[in-house]
Symmetry: C2
Subunit: 167 residues, 2 copies
Amino acid sequence: MTVTRPAQATDEPTDTEPRLRIGEVAKQTGVTPRTLRYWEEIGLLRPAAHRGSGERLYSLVEQERVIHIRELQDLLGLTLAEIQDVLRSEDTLERARRAARAAAPTQKRLPLLADAIEANDRLVERINERLARISQFRDECVERGERMAVRRAELEAELAPPTRSSR
Amino acid sequence: MTVTRPAQATDEPTDTEPRLRIGEVAKQTGVTPRTLRYWEEIGLLRPAAHRGSGERLYSLVEQERVIHIRELQDLLGLTLAEIQDVLRSEDTLERARRAARAAAPTQKRLPLLADAIEANDRLVERINERLARISQFRDECVERGERMAVRRAELEAELAPPTRSSR
DNA sequence: TCTACCGTTGACGTGAACGGCAACCTCTTG
DNA sequence: CAAGAGGTTGCCGTTCACGTCAACGGTAGA
């Protein structure tokens, strides 16, 4: 299970290497290149690297982040500004990871990780609230449906002449 | 519990009488008058009546609809166009109600009611799908949180010198 | 009847989140 | 090496869902 990296490996695990061009990320995630550039413009998602030509290069980390952002947008209805807030704490985790690679002492890494955990907890809390509200809304709809169904049954009974043997 | 209507009652139950001015509805529901007019403009919510002066008058039915619309917007993230679709079927129910007051025969009222029920079922189905997706998203977040918590525990263990008696 | 407050229409403005060009660059591939 | 595919910046356009302001009119209470 533990990946044995080849001898000439870089000091980065494979999935953080920036190999993906913008079109590739777009295809994989379903967002347009324009949107990715826009998100970068407002400071929401920076590509892992640039090439001399100015070309953006993303890693799988960013690609997953794109999906994460879309979920925060579509499922929770957050604005990009709010998402930025949420992700800022997540960035803390990324910093913690870099600190780990830089062989930073545990004393430095621990608070970063704690921040990330706390931010994640807040997010989960937010999601739970939303789930509760939607559930309640659904229950209301279901109840309305049941009332209508009862009414329909009444009308159907009224319509059908009362025969003793059904069918 | 059954409201005994006064002798000189109109043929409308009290809660469908259009008495509410736009500002009142706005106050009760939290949406602005501008928004109510806009919704009317795009055919989303027509006031129950107008007065000679052009003043809009809403009934409690519309007021509840306002809340319904906001929920469809905020909780489900539907566009006003989509909401219009959803409500168009709900209007069927309103027509059924009018048919009832017009003493329409059961044969006419039943299909209208059936349509409304079907539309409601579709809505509930949609909500359930959304709930499922959000739940899944939450689970992913929770899982991430747990992984981070494990990591934190490791770091804490590493930090604290291994003493046999805790404290 | 005067005044303060709603309300009306009509028009234009706005913020968020992109879409869509033009003009240009840079790989790759036959 | 020419051509095409894909990338870049810059900038203006667009859609949605309203906000805002002006100019005006009806209504209710002192």
